[in-house]
């Protein structure tokens, strides 16, 4: 897994609430058998017009969004289906972090396993960031995982929660399966006891 330490980037504003994983990546793109190449289908039904051309009104298609690594999204982002294709598509497009006031449970867990950092902030911080970013798309936001802080604008600084284990894995680029495999003896013991 890619390490995550500190990121400074401008952001793509997506103020919609309850953006579900069917919007992030519609089901018809789930017939793939690998994880790659899903970035082109990210937000597909919002992003492209009927004839397949870019929808100029969708934020991801704006020139100011190109190269952004942070998505600033409305509350309860990633609800619905458990498809890990959602973080694969977000990472495939180039995002490394999502800032929101809340994330759906499975989406958050899937993201953390793909080097995509969910950053949960308060309503007031979210509003301040959204306003600033919408006003000036080049507004830079810095996310520091070690100190668990978000800084932006003049003097906006806030902390965000993350469990110690996920933080450790992201900082070091540790993959969780390797960690799980190290419990082989205890797992065997548990299996013996229960049969």
């Amino acid at each position: 897994m890619a390490k995550f330490t500190r990121l400074t980037s401008y952001a793509v504003p997506l103020p919609e609430e309850n953006v579900d994983t069917d919007q992030i990546i519609p089901a018809r793109f789930l017939k793939v058998t690998d994880k790659h190449g899903l970035g082109d289908s990210l937000f597909c039904d919002w992003r492209y017009l009927k004839d397949g051309s870019n929808n100029p009104d969708f934020v991801l298609n704006e020139p100011a969004s190109q190269g952004a690594q942070i998505l600033l999204a409305g509350n309860n982002f990633g609800s619905g289906s458990s498809r890990e294709h959602a973080p694969w598509a977000l990472v495939g497009w180039g995002f490394r972090a999502i800032i929101s006031t809340g994330f759906a449970d499975i989406f958050q867990s899937n993201s953390l396993k793909n080097g995509l950092l969910p950053v949960q902030v308060s309503e007031s911080v979210y509003k301040a960031l959204m306003e600033a970013v919408q006003l000036d798309r080049s507004t830079e936001i810095t996310i520091d995982l070690q100190t668990q802080t978000v800084t932006a604008l003049d003097g906006l600084e806030t902390t965000f929660p993350i469990d110690a284990f996920s933080k450790h894995c992201l900082l070091e680029g540790i993959d969780q399966l390797g960690y799980l495999l190290s419990f082989d003896d205890q797992i065997s013991h548990h299996e013996q006891q229960r049969t």
Partner: protein, 473 residues
Amino acid sequence: MTIIMKPRTLFQKVWDEHVVVEEPDRPAVLYIDLHLIHEVTSPQAFTGLRERGIGVRRPDKTIATMDHSTPTLPKALWVIDDQAKAQLGQLERNCKDFGIELYALGDSRNGIVHVIGPERGFTQPGKTIVCGDSHTSTHGAFGALAFGIGTSEVEHVLATQCLLQRKAKTLEVRVEGQLMPGVTAKDIILALCSKIGTGGGTGYVIEFTGSAIRALDMEGRMTVCNMSIEAGARAGMIGPDETTFAYLRGRDRVPQAADWDAAVERWTQLCTDEGAVFDKTVVIDANKLEPMITYGTNPGMGMQISDPMPTTARFEDASQRAAFEKAMGYMDLQPGQRLLGKKIDVVFIGSCTNSRISDLRMAAGVFSGRKVAQGVRTLVVPGSHDIKKQAEAEGLDQIFQEAGAEWREPGCSMCIAMNGDNLEPGQYAVSTSNRNFEGRQGKGGRTFLASPLTAAASAVKGEVTDPRSLLLS
């Protein structure tokens, strides 16, 4: 000396039984008793195993089915696109290489993953059950701890039979009273989604309690637990009781003979102890429930079927107002109006929420002696081959076909629209499935979620219809 045990919830008991390692500041290592896999969310997990050169730890605790992208037309008419074909082929190869039992397309025991688990008796009280699919919560109806996982976690479970898990908080949803005729399990869960919203249960495992839950049969309980995820909760659970045991007795994979009695004895102990504390409680009055329907683009945007839709003014919060307006725009509906009488194009009766025999019986009861309205396409898709056979033995297929509905082969079908069963842009559907997200049932399609009774009544009238108007006539 007597040891006084602190009263525990059902969730706590199942959790305690399955913790392999629990250290401070680390997620627990939780043992998984049953791992269900399907074609869509497993290929990358097997690729991961091969890259690491490791095998599947417990193929005997792993069951595979094909359901999401499978065709629902009779075998002679099977159309599968190349990508879906490759994905199904890959599942078949993976199961063969790693020794996993597969209920493949064409197998007489094939069906939707959350339908066949209970049907074959794999699903049992007290088990931990996972699947790369959010509606795994369905299995909680049996008093199992069952939840959806991502593909990375599918790989974890294949490799270690364990998951790294943080303990959830507990939410009791107490439903007391008696449902009125025409009101079903689906209406209970849609009412909960409307009440607490799609994020209301985030971070919690729900336990459904109360007399109205106890009165439900297993199929109704599965409907309720199925949509726990739509209220944001990863899992929903119901304490096992006589209804649970009666359903399971004699099924393929449950303990037999003397083992059965021992199992029932064990399962009886699982219920939440008197005095155990939940982190939060929500109460629903079953006596006051009416048939529910959604009007918007997430399952929390629901209402009693006779109510008008909200007006924009009702949303004080700007972002909620914006979400409501966007949903109304997508659905092309007017705030403040009623949905009753709204013309519809399609009715879908199926999905892991409402495709079991009692759901089909409910729908058939409405269709019996009636016809689907002109111009309405109605699809009835049983959840498994077992259910299909049972329905045909009871003559339900005849009732559906005589009414003018299509009687299909089992599968997820128009719930997720991956297999060619889909809405056309702009069409309105009343659907017994679980998600009304934009495009969920086909790009540009518009979904009203409701019970099988409401769906069937709406098919007959060609418009959104309160089923009680037909039940009473």
